[in-house]
């Protein structure tokens, strides 16, 4: 099911006029650059044709998942036992038995650091590959245009993606916490045209584009008449002042092409998957989003961000069971977070491998930071950004490695810390964005790759 606006249609004729308007605004990449400009920054042949960032918003505990400390004192260790993996010398906790059995498919970095302990700034730092420089973005800056572009925006700007958007983020809305989204979510100083194309996927696999509720009178039946559709779009274009863009014709053509071309629409239609595959990912929004992400990668989308939830928090009235487990960490991880992560990530890796996609798809799974190694005074864990984990697979990454070592309590890196700049540089390198191109675009200048992963 693919739904846009306030109704759904299998053949994607359920479009509202606002849908086209908003989708047009979300499809900047091919339209933004002239042919000569594209040629000038043409990407190198990438090891990773696509990148999938599996984003665990809210910050999962590194000690309770990928970096257990079974010999640490009880006030650090937590209740989850360490189990062996297929990788010599690497243990996970008992919450991840399936991933432990597949550790030869991926590598784990155990010395990631972030520069901030707040969800919103830390998310922006990881997504953009470092602290915001001149122009703000640090400490309370509320203007997204002050931020560097998201790595996904960079990849999408450089890479061609055919009829599909170059950067798709799968969530109900911009990802962040209860205060608001992490403002490094998109194009930043490059403009909203480089924001991700947001797509929501429900637990039943129903796909929709958020915030498309305007112009509901444009029904599927009316959209069946393409001449009428074009007239409608022209009418909308004349009426709307919000999009002052000289490339608007191109944008509309892109939007029209995306939403009326059956080959591109098929990428969004999870119902084409077998029941067995859908069930393997599990009937959750996160699981079905991961499956949709795989379909988008298969269709050639260069950068897909699969979000665990929209909000970091677990239990606020508005929140949707993110990883921000200040209380009830161990019960929640045993009930929901641990088993779900283990199921979805192991299924995703198996699925990509069986389809021959893992070799050309870089998969990164991480959050904005880790959680306090020392258990807090209410028996849970708080924010911890000096040391945490990330999981890397496919797309040029050497699997079966534990990269870096944290100290006996998981508080600090014992080996060189892996910085947000190194994460961003490594992703861009594997996605075929050269250092020269990064310099031209003025993104993560001076960063270097995580050599041990390659």
């Amino acid at each position: 099911m693919f739904g846009i606006g306030s109704f759904r249609s299998r053949d994607c004729q359920g479009l509202t006029r606002r849908s086209f308007l908003r989708v047009g605004a979300s499809l900047p990449f091919a339209a933004e650059l002239s042919a000569s400009a594209r040629e000038a920054i043409a990407a190198e042949a990438p090891k990773a044709r696509s990148v999938m960032l599996v984003w665990l918003v809210g910050a999962p505990s590194h000690l309770d998942l990928f970096d257990p400390k079974p010999k640490a004192p009880a006030e650090y260790r937590g209740p989850f036992a360490a189990i062996r993996t297929r990788t010599s010398g690497m243990q996970f906790t008992e919450l991840l038995p399936r991933l432990a059995a597949r550790s030869d498919k991926f590598s784990v970095v155990r010395t990631n650091i972030n520069y901030d302990g707040g969800h919103r700034p830390a998310g922006s730092i990881m997504w953009t590959g470092g602290k915001a420089r001149a122009g703000g973005g640090e400490g309370g800056e509320e203007d997204p245009s002050a931020y560097p572009p998201h790595i996904g925006s960079v990849v999408a700007r450089v890479r061609q993606s055919g009829d599909l958007p170059g950067f798709i983020s799968l969530a109900k809305g911009p990802v962040g916490d209860g205060v608001g989204p992490s403002l490094g979510y998109g194009g930043g100083k490059w403009g909203k045209r480089f924001d991700p194309f947001m797509v929501n996927c429900t637990k039943n696999g129903e796909v929709s584009i958020p915030d498309l509720k305007l112009l509901d009178d444009l029904t599927p039946a009316r959209l069946a008449n393409r001449r009428e559709l074009l007239q409608e779009l022209n009418s909308v274009r004349r009426r709307v002042d919000a999009l002052q863009d000289t490339q608007i014709d191109t944008i509309y053509r892109q939007a029209y092409q995306l939403l009326t071309t059956s080959t591109t629409l098929k990428a969004f239609d999870i119902s084409e998957e077998s029941q067995q595959t859908r069930e393997a990912y599990g009937r959750t929004s996160f699981g079905q989003s991961a499956l949709l992400g795989r379909r988008l990668v298969e269709a050639g989308v260069p950068y897909v961000q699969v979000n665990w939830s929209q909000f970091a928090e677990v239990f606020y009235e508005f929140s949707d069971y993110g990883w921000d487990t200040h209380a009830d960490n161990f019960e929640l991880l045993a009930d929901w977070h641990g088993p779900l992560l283990d199921q979805v990530m192991s299924t995703l890796l198996d699925d990509l491998e069986q389809r021959g996609l893992l070799e050309t798809t870089l998969v990164i799974c991480m959050g904005e930071f880790g959680r306090t190694p020392r258990i807090n005074n209410i028996g849970s864990r708080d924010h911890w950004h000096p040391c945490y984990f990330s999981v890397w697979a496919g797309g040029g990454v050497q699997p079966g490695r534990a990269i870096g070592e944290s100290d006996a309590r998981g508080e600090q890196p014992l080996t060189d810390p892996i910085t947000p700049e190194m994460v961003g540089t490594t992703v861009l390198h594997l996605a075929g964005v050269s250092s020269q191109q990064r310099a031209q675009l003025k993104v993560i200048e001076g960063g270097h790759v995580i050599d041990d992963l390659l």
């Binding site: 009880a74 006030e75 260790r77 937590g78 209740p79 989850f80 036992a81 189990i83 008992e94 038995p97 109900k172 429900t202 637990k203 029941q275 067995q276 859908r278 069930e279 393997a280 599990g282 009937r283 959750t284 929004s285 939830s309 929209q310 928090e313 677990v314 239990f315 606020y316 009235e317 508005f318 929140s319 949707d320 069971y321 921000d324 200040h326 209380a327 009830d328 161990f330 019960e331 045993a334 009930d335 929901w336 088993p339 258990i375 005074n377 209410i378 028996g379 849970s380």
Partner: protein, 291 residues
């Protein structure tokens, strides 16, 4: 044999499904919506099951399954925040559950249908949670888990949510309490020994005894109606399976053996069957298991 089972069964849908099956030990799927469910509890003498479900992306909702016709209904359509861990007293006077609030905490709610009142216990710490309530058979107190300064403990309040008492005071995490049918003992899980294991204590928190001693998780104990056995989830083989043992840990029996997750076992009041949450068909649903 099947006919006899039909005759004594109180749940119509179970009767219908059981009558058509030749393998009594194969779990019977009771729901088919596939949404992630947890914390089931029998109500109405075994005719209904209450549970929590990840219903819509922004909410966990309390549901009631009527076993007579398979109808599922939202328990309270007015609630807009996360609702967790429902339980009713045997006489249906009290409904207890946990509810998220305007801070990242959950509070305990106890509704008295007879007096038409609602009481609330709010943990001291603004981030703390109350979870897993159980109502004593005499309807005098509610036992639950609360995270508080000093750790996560088992506690109890009266049905007006007053007269708070700590029942455990140990290191580690104490959670998933269940009360014996006579109200004299509480089974729970605790990580006080390093990993989650099953323990039993008197209802006042005294005389704690360890039931399981495994390095991997043993969780969610459930007393049998005759008070002699405990069903629980164990991942001792790396996968979530349901086990039963005597209250002292002897006579261990593995009930399920499936590569998918089997979890959250509760006893049917007849003591001959369990209901569990399982992902054995891919989705997450309630299943009936004949013992």
């Amino acid at each position: 044999m099947t006919f006899c089972r039909i005759a004594i069964c109180s749940a119509g849908i179970v009767i219908a499904v059981s009558a058509g099956r030749s393998m009594a030990d194969e779990p019977v799927r009771l729901t088919h919506d596939g949404a992630f469910k947890f914390s089931p509890a029998f109500a109405a003498g075994g005719d209904e099951i209450l549970y929590s479900v990840h219903d819509v992306p922004n909410r966990v909702t309390l549901m009631r399954l009527h076993l007579s016709d398979g109808h599922q209904e939202v328990i309270d359509k007015t609630l807009k925040s996360h609702q967790l861990d429902p339980i009713e007293s045997a006489d249906r006077r009290f409904l207890a559950f946990c509810l998220s609030s305007t801070s990242p905490q959950t509070v305990l709610i106890v509704r008295d249908r007879q007096e038409k009142t609602e009481s609330r216990y709010t943990p001291m710490d603004a981030r703390a949670t109350a979870r897993g309530p159980r109502i004593l058979p005499d309807n005098q107190r509610v036992v639950f888990t609360v995270s508080q300064p000093g750790g996560q403990q088992i506690a109890s309040v009266d049905t007006k949510c007053g007269d708070y008492k700590n029942l455990t005071d140990s290191g580690g995490t104490n959670c998933w309490p269940d009360i014996s049918p006579d109200g004299k003992q509480i089974a729970f899980s605790s990580s006080r020994g390093g990993s989650f294991n099953i323990y039993v204590m008197n209802a006042d928190g005294s005389d704690v005894r360890q039931v399981t001693n495994e390095p991997l998780r043993n969780m969610r104990p459930a007393w049998s109606p005759d008070g002699q056995r405990i069903a629980f989830t164990s991942v001792r083989d790396g996968n979530h399976e349901i086990y039963i043992s005597d209250v002292d840990g002897t006579n261990l029996r593995r009930v399920t053996n499936h590569p998918a997750r089997d979890d959250y076992a509760i006893w049917h009041p007849d003591g001959k069957r369990l209901v569990m949450v399982s992902q054995r068909a891919g989705d997450t649903d309630l299943y009936l298991v004949e013992l």
